[in-house]
Amino acid sequence: MLAGYTAETLARLQFAFTVSFHIVFPAFSIGLASYLAVLNGLWLWTRDRVYLTLFDFWKAIFAIAFGMGVVSGIVMSYQFGTNWSVFSDRTGPVLGPLMAYEVLTAFFLEAGFLGIMLFGRKRVGDGLHMMATGMVAVGTLVSATWILSVNSWMHTPQGFGMNDVGQFIPLDWWAIIFNPSFPYRLTHMVLAAYLTTAFVVGAVGAWHLLRTPGRRSALVMFSMAMWMATLVTPLQILAGDMHGLNTLEHQPAKVMAMEGHFESHPDGAPLILFGLVNEDEKRIDYSIEIPKLSSLILKHHLDAPLDGLDTIPDDEEPPVSIVFYTFRVMVALGFAMLGIGLWSLWARWRGGLGEATWLQRAAVVMGPAGFIAVLAGWITTEVGRQPWTVYGLMRTSESLSPIDAPAVASSLVAFIIVYFFVFGAGIYYILRLMDKGPGQAKVEGPTRTAGTTPAQQVQDERPEMQQ
């Protein structure tokens, strides 16, 4: 199946596969950790049991998602060395310390307090338990901060020199960490994680409202999720726009691919809404476009000239079709999220979210929207920076380990089989918990806990055995 591919292609496939699987879990757990901290805070503040019920429900789901994030993340930290050893040797002096800081400031914090958050409420009391919950949430955000700084430096490198063996040498750490694309990428990703979680929570709430209209725990989480959709989606669209302008400044070729601009437009470039990319002929077939709108968005002037890919040497062009299509998927989902947010406002005004069954149905459908948008957005930005690993300085083809294609091919096949099997099972267990819903006795019981007695476990699983 994989014979005939070069080691480079296989290593890129492997990275794309493992990182795509991995990002799904942090994208969810970053938002969920903050949501858990809010729920626990509301429970301590109001003493309304519905918040405790929701906390325990989402905690069980968080534990599974977090575990999968940890194990798929360990793979990432070693894959730089196994498949991209030349990249590791040359960029290690700059990127390695940032990743070490991620481990020291974030991973240990999350892992150290996770146990207390999951199992420790009775042992440490409400106050310390709240602190542990907060620490887990802070840890996920700190982790995102460091790793996005690393990623952004690869897109917009600065603050370094070169030594005589070709290593990037750090000269100014402040410039390295706060490189030009970092603030935009970080904002865009954290908001994306919050929206991803909000749409999952919203879908679960809606699912149970449709099944049991008026169920309070479901209504509370549905309403919280819809507020997030209403308030955060516009911010996210704004952040995405600013990130795009930053990309235009630093990686114009990526924006040309996103826009599908093969040709330069000296007096105003059209916004291509959709079309079919024809890479051979270097044009977009059947395009639906709005004249001059691209120039207005990117340059804030209808007649501003915009360069196209004809100004970029062929061997420095990214693959256009992947970037073009995934960008449209992300943007379309973003506007669908905005639509849900506005619809929920209207529904609240018309008599409440509990009555809005069509909104609830739409929210169920939109449950996975955040994940798809996150993946599409990351594919846009990562494929769009090809053929570089360090933008403009180090090519992907120069980054590879001295490895044989069969070694990469067999590990790639192993990762594919194991990930689909293991994470498939995990996602199935998460969906089953979601289907059971909050407040169902024992939902939190069987969470890997030291606590539950085997008798309860069996009881809990009885419905499954009857299937």
């Binding site: 050893s85 030349v86 590791s88 070490a100 892992a111 146990g115 001295p402 939190e444 606590g451 476990q457």
Partner: protein, 336 residues
């Protein structure tokens, strides 16, 4: 003011500390997985797994620090070792996926509980074997040319590395058994005492074989241990090892709760010291030294500030987390 030279040795010490901490901490929870087939009773398995459930991912974070830290401060060593140990590393990563998720998954199903029990056992065993094989392959030496691994894809597979693989898995099982003795009472703890005695004996036999075999892997190791100015290590390390073995035996025989675990930890620390004595001043034997592999001074310095401030804080809250879940596991206690 320190220069790159001293900084690189300081960092070699810190990386060694992270790896050792990983080995002893994840060692006992991997060991519990390795012991699973000998404890078919569901209730016993619940207790065994619960004794590490709150701490296992903290333990595994030290492995990430080892990998990330190596890339940060010894990027050349990282870039050479990972391709050289490609297969054992990939096997270890996949094995850790299986065992990591089974902590959660096993409680979520009845029909498939057996599957996740096997995943927990198989994942723990293969991860332990891979780590031991990787260690053995590193001791044998890794061929480096032009800042890159210059050997073949199966170089890691030798009788010596297979033996170190089994040795590490046996040692982890010992750590796991003595951890369970410390954390439980009743039938499980009693059976573990018997297993710990057997595993302790087996571990010491393996340490003996590795110690006698290693000097013949490389002339430098031989001179380090049997001739020259450093011969005294050949007295100190074995004497302390014998003392640790005695404490282990006595602790098990007299039914102490904590000393068997501490003695097992000491056995690991001493073995680690032994490896360090062999390696120094190499980071990747036989030819890559600590100084050659070190990142530029600005990287070492920047990362050191964080490590010196944060590692003590991490140790404090990790200790706190262990303290919260201290004492014997009560099989009927509810945490929720």
């Amino acid at each position: 003011m320190m220069f790159g030279y001293e900084l690189s040795f300081l960092w070699a010490g810190l990386i060694a500390f992270a790896v050792l901490t990983y080995v002893v901490l994840d060692g006992f929870d991997l060991g519990i997985g390795i012991l699973f087939p000998f404890y078919p009773n569901e209730k016993h398995r619940d207790v065994m797994m619960n004794s590490v459930a709150p701490v296992w991912d903290g333990n595994e974070t030290w492995l990430v620090l080892g990998g990330g830290g190596l890339m940060a401060v010894f990027p050349l060593a990282y870039a050479v070792v990972m391709p050289a140990l490609y297969m054992p590393i990939i096997l270890m990563l996949l094995a850790l996926v299986f065992r990591g998720v089974s902590f959660e998954f096993r409680w979520k199903t009845t029909r498939w509980r057996g599957v996740w029990d096997i995943a927990f056992f198989g994942g723990s065993l293969i991860a332990a074997l891979s780590q031991g094989i990787a260690l053995g392959a590193l001791v044998q030496g890794i061929e480096v040319e032009n800042r890159a691994y210059a050997g073949g894809w199966w170089d890691w597979l030798t009788p010596f590395s297979l033996m170190t693989g089994v040795a590490v898995a046996t040692g982890y099982a010992l750590l796991g058994a003595t951890w369970i003795i410390m954390k439980t009472e009743g039938t499980v703890a009693d059976r573990m005492r018997r297993h710990a005695l057997q595993l302790g004996a087996a571990t010491l036999v393996f340490i003996g074989i590795v110690s006698l075999w290693t000097p013949f892997q490389d002339r430098v190791y031989f001179e380090r241990w049997f001739t020259g100015a450093t011969w005294y290590w050949s007295v100190i390390v074995p004497v302390l090892m014998a003392a640790a073995a005695f404490v282990l035996w006595r602790g098990i025989a007299y039914r102490h709760d904590v000393t068997p675990f501490l003695a097992s930890l000491s056995i690991f620390v001493l073995s680690f010291v032994g490896i360090g004595v062999s390696f120094y001043p190499m980071i990747v034997p036989p030819s890559l030294t600590i100084v050659e592999a070190a990142a530029p001074e600005s990287s070492l310095r920047f990362a050191l500030v964080g490590a010196l401030i944060l590692i003590p804080i991490i140790l404090i809250y990790t200790a706190y987390s262990y303290w919260v879940f201290r004492g014997k596991i009560d099989p009927d206690e509810g945490y929720h």
